[in-house]
């Protein structure tokens, strides 16, 4: 399939990984300097110029296993350490989020917009990291990179493409976000910008058909991946009211909040506390987060709401049949008839069945700009990117004003927040002098260990459940609704891609061979597979 797919896949999945890691690090009150170091290290590795150049060469997609290995290396580019099970969970989250974005792209080239969203977000991550530049070893490397980037700056105007494509915008969204992460690290910021420029150069000239092929390739990569995001919850049996206690998480229509026990305290600002409380998993403190009333809505209904808005019980995404049509597409419902001279002789209408409105505007494919499309922006942030357009109350048609090309951004947000709710993160203070730390994507160590075991026991599982688990009290296991019916409690840990990667024995052998090659990293570099080169390069960074 398309040989232009790998960069988009890598950048967007990387963006998703950074969203998740950033959220976890913040929620867990990891010291700011450590958080920044982790993000800066990872982003710097990700956007290394040589690496990006290699990445941008036309090539076939990696196998799922090989790509997974790349992200393993990337996540460990800094002082943070992830267990295998946590890495599995992280990777599943990343891939599921990006699959959703690809699937909901209004037009094939909107994949590009998603990528831009990710890049924008990554830029933002670097924004508040004043400490990063002071790390000597970092600085020396960055100076070299800065020099490289200065020489590359001439390319800038040449590479900007006047005719934008939407797939690129998605990618740009990712890149824009990445820039946010590194705002105070100009060198890394430039690395990201350079990548954006190269993307614009390469992808700006592609046709709609090329983008269709890219999108099909991405979708085939994600095919049969059905991670079902579930929201389990359990009532603790007290009277409904202000002192009601819950284990679990609830989602209200207006926003997401988490409520559980004990004890119940007066409402807090959700935005300030949700992360900390949901994800800390510590025994101290306030557990209930509440909005203005009505928070203790029927939890089952909440679950259904989520299911209806985002995913079906079989793990398939809900595809909306309303909202703005893609840029360049007319609202369906009109038949125009012409005579042989080309004169319009008749118009008729038909009932399409959907409820669409015209497209508002096309997203910007330039280095900076409004991508319009929201797919690929950082939905894990507590304060999501400000909605650019606010409709005035006096405008009767305000409700019809398309806010974004992304269909149902709320649903998307909820999916991601759900994912965020899954499991806490635990930081182990290292006993030795090593200043690193371990990031756990599970609530407890026991869960993580069980998960690791489960993934060994059941190597394949067609529908993978993500259980948004949370225990109110530390080390307390909560039996989740629906959990007991699952054959494998932590089925979501199973690297789901393996299930179908190895469905074909021949393919499996090939992958096993590649995997074997990856493991021997100490040996001299060999160029036996394309995956090897990039991995080796990443190791050397």
């Amino acid at each position: 399939m398309s040989v232009r797919t790998l960069p988009l896949l890598f950048l967007n999945l990387g963006g998703e990984m950074l969203y998740i890691l950033n959220q976890r690090l913040q929620a867990q009150n990891i010291p700011t300097d450590k958080t920044r170091k982790v993000l800066n290290d990872i982003i710097s590795t990700m956007f290394n110029r040589k690496f990006i150049e290699e990445l941008l060469k036309p090539q076939e997609l990696y196998s799922k296993k090989a790509l997974r290995t790349v992200y393993d290396r990337l996540a460990h580019a800094s002082i943070m350490r992830l267990s295998q099970a946590s890495m599995d969970k992280l990777y599943n989250l990343m891939t599921m989020a990006f699959k959703y974005q690809v699937l909901l792209c209004p037009r094939p080239k909107d994949v590009l917009l998603v990528t831009f969203n990710h890049l924008d977000a990554i830029k933002g991550f670097i924004q508040d990291s004043p400490a990063i530049l002071h790390q000597v070893d970092e600085t020396s490397r960055q100076l070299i990179e800065l020099y490289n980037l200065m020489t590359m700056a001439f390319k800038y105007q040449v590479l900007l493409c006047p005719r934008p494509k939407d797939v690129l915008l998605v990618t740009f969204n990712h890149l824009d976000a990445i820039k946010g992460f590194i705002q105070d690290s100009p060198a890394i910021l430039h690395q990201v910008d350079e990548t954006s420029r190269q993307l614009i150069e390469i992808y700006g000239s592609l046709s709609a058909g090329d983008f269709q092929l890219i999108r099909q390739t991405l979708l085939i990569f994600f095919q049969d991946l059905h991670i079902r995001v579930k929201l389990p919850m359990r009532k603790r049996g007290r009277a409904v009211g202000s002192v009601e206690q819950y284990h679990g998480c609830a989602v209200t229509q207006t926003t997401l909040s988490a409520i559980w026990s004990p004890p119940l305290r007066p409402p807090f600002s959700l935005a300030q506390h949700v992360d900390q409380s949901i994800l800390s998993g510590s025994d101290a403190g306030v557990r209930l987060l509440s909005l203005s009333g009505g928070i203790l809505a029927d939890l089952e209904e909440v679950s259904i709401f989520l299911k209806d808005k985002v995913q079906n019980s079989n793990g398939r995404f809900v595809l909306p049949v309303s909202g703005p049509v893609p840029w360049g597409t007319e609202v369906p419902g009109l038949i125009r008839t012409f005579n042989s001279k080309g004169e319009e002789v008749k118009t008729a209408e038909f009932k399409h069945g959907g409820n669409y409105v015209p497209a508002a505007q096309e997203g910007s494919f330039e280095l900076y700009g409004d991508r319009v499309l929201k797919l690929g922006t950082n939905m894990y942030s507590v304060n999501p990117p400000a909605e650019a357009k606010t409709s005035t109350a006096s405008d009767s048609a305000a409700s019809r004003t398309p806010e974004s090309i992304a269909p149902n951004p709320l649903a998307k947000e909820e999916l991601n927040l759900l994912a965020r709710l899954m499991g806490g993160m635990e930081i182990k203070t290292p006993s030795g002098p090593e200043p690193g730390f371990r990031l756990n994507l599970f609530t407890t160590d026991e869960e993580e260990e069980q998960a690791a075991l489960a993934s060994q026991e059941e190597p394949s599982c067609e529908v993978i459940d993500i259980q948004a688990t949370q225990t109110g009290e530390p080390r307390q296991r909560v039996t989740m609704v629906g959990l007991s019916r699952q054959p494998c409690q932590h089925a979501f840990l199973i690297p789901c891609h393996l299930a179908f990667l190895f469905q074909d024995p021949q393919r499996g052998e090939e992958l096993a061979r590649i995997m074997g090659e990856f493991e021997i990293t100490d040996e001299p570099r060999r160029s036996t597979s394309k995956g090897d080169d990039l991995l080796a390069m990443m190791d050397e960074l």
Binding site: E60, L103, A208, L219, P332, G353, I514
Partner: protein, 334 residues
């Protein structure tokens, strides 16, 4: 008008490709063959009217030198006057099988030698006219194979150079042998359509320019070209002149499949917006102009449709495949 019938389970889900469903009707045996591409493999199955799958077969693209297994782009049954062949296109080449997929009778490797490295090499777009099978390629060239009445002695007889971008789909006139001037239409990624007269040497009759969006699916019926575009439009043209007669804002997303029921002139359009629409084509008896009416709309909830075909010549039943969906959905009129 149409109601859902029992669906047919697939061993593996359908890939996100356009025209990802082929149907071969065998009324004599009261059977229908279905072909769906999964990705590196394709599945063939035959089903009785109740939808019970009777026989299944997996086909694979011929392995090549690459690391990753070649992906299949399309499977399609070609009904020639004297035999039926199953054609499978991939990123390696073109494979032709006996109609049940049991024996591969011909293999044509694609030569990507002159291709720039940025170009993915593949074949896509399959149709039969007379004793010819036409297959489109990544370069825009259309390969014409001359098929003998029996046996594997298939010959590449001609290469048509009407397109500059990858071919997306090819359609043939179902009412062959009549006085139709045009009997093959080819479409490409730029939206360009080429209308051909088949024969020992193919003649280009008309070029219908695109308008910046691909044309993933095309059909031909009694001198009417029906084209489905990436912007959700269906357009009907006079085949011999290329004159635009009808423009339908049919779908909110890219159209992925068109099909025709030749007996009634019904047109099926399916798109990524989860909708399938059925249209009725007509010619005005006085002016001869092409006219169209909307017959039916069906939403396949949460399914990015990737293939759709009528299951009988009168268009009273149709089948649909969707991305990530491991079943063939069937509908028939009450």
């Amino acid at each position: 008008m149409f109601r859902r019938e029992g669906s047919i389970p697939l061993r593996s889900s359908a890939a996100a490709l356009c025209n990802n469903l082929s149907v071969l009707q065998l009324p004599a045996h009261n059977l229908t063959h279905f072909g769906v591409v999964h990705g590196p493999s394709a599945q063939l199955l035959s089903a009785a009217p109740e939808g019970v799958p009777l026989a299944q077969r997996q086909l694979h693209a011929k392995e090549g030198a690459g690391v990753s297994p070649p992906l299949i782009t399309q499977v399609h049954w070609c009904a020639l006057p004297f035999r039926v062949l199953l054609v499978l296109t991939s990123h390696r080449g073109i494979q032709m099988y006996e109609s049940d997929g049991s024996i591969m009778v011909y293999w044509h490797a694609l030569d990507g030698g002159d291709a720039p490295p940025v170009q993915a090499v593949f074949a896509r777009g399959i149709a039969a006219s007379g004793h010819f099978i036409c297959v489109g390629t990544w370069s825009g060239r259309v390969l014409v194979f001359d098929i003998p009445a029996k046996g594997p002695n298939i010959v590449l007889s001609e290469e048509l150079a009407g397109h500059q971008t990858p071919v997306t789909d090819i359609a043939a006139e179902p009412a062959q042998g009549q006085d139709c001037m045009a009997d093959i239409v080819t479409a490409d990624d730029s939206g360009l359509l080429c209308v051909w007269r088949s024969g020992p040497e193919f003649t280009l009759l008309a070029r219908i320019p695109g308008f910046g969006t691909p044309c993933p699916s095309v059909q031909l019926w009694q001198g009417i070209v029906a084209a489905g575009y990436g912007n959700g439009q269906v357009r009907l043209y006079e085949a011999t002149t290329g004159t635009l007669h009808v423009q339908i804002n049919a779908h909110a997303r890219a159209i992925c499949a068109l099909d025709l029921a030749p007996e009634k002139g019904k047109l099926l359009s399916a798109a990524e917006d989860t909708f399938v629409h059925i249209w009725k084509l007509d010619r005005n008896p006085e002016s001869g102009d092409i006219e169209v009416g909307h017959c039916h709309g069906e939403c396949i909830p949460d399914t990015q449709v990737c293939g759709a075909r009528f299951c009988d010549p009168s268009g009273s039943s149709f089948a649909v495949t969707g991305y990530d969906l491991a079943e063939i959905l069937r509908f028939s009129s009450a």
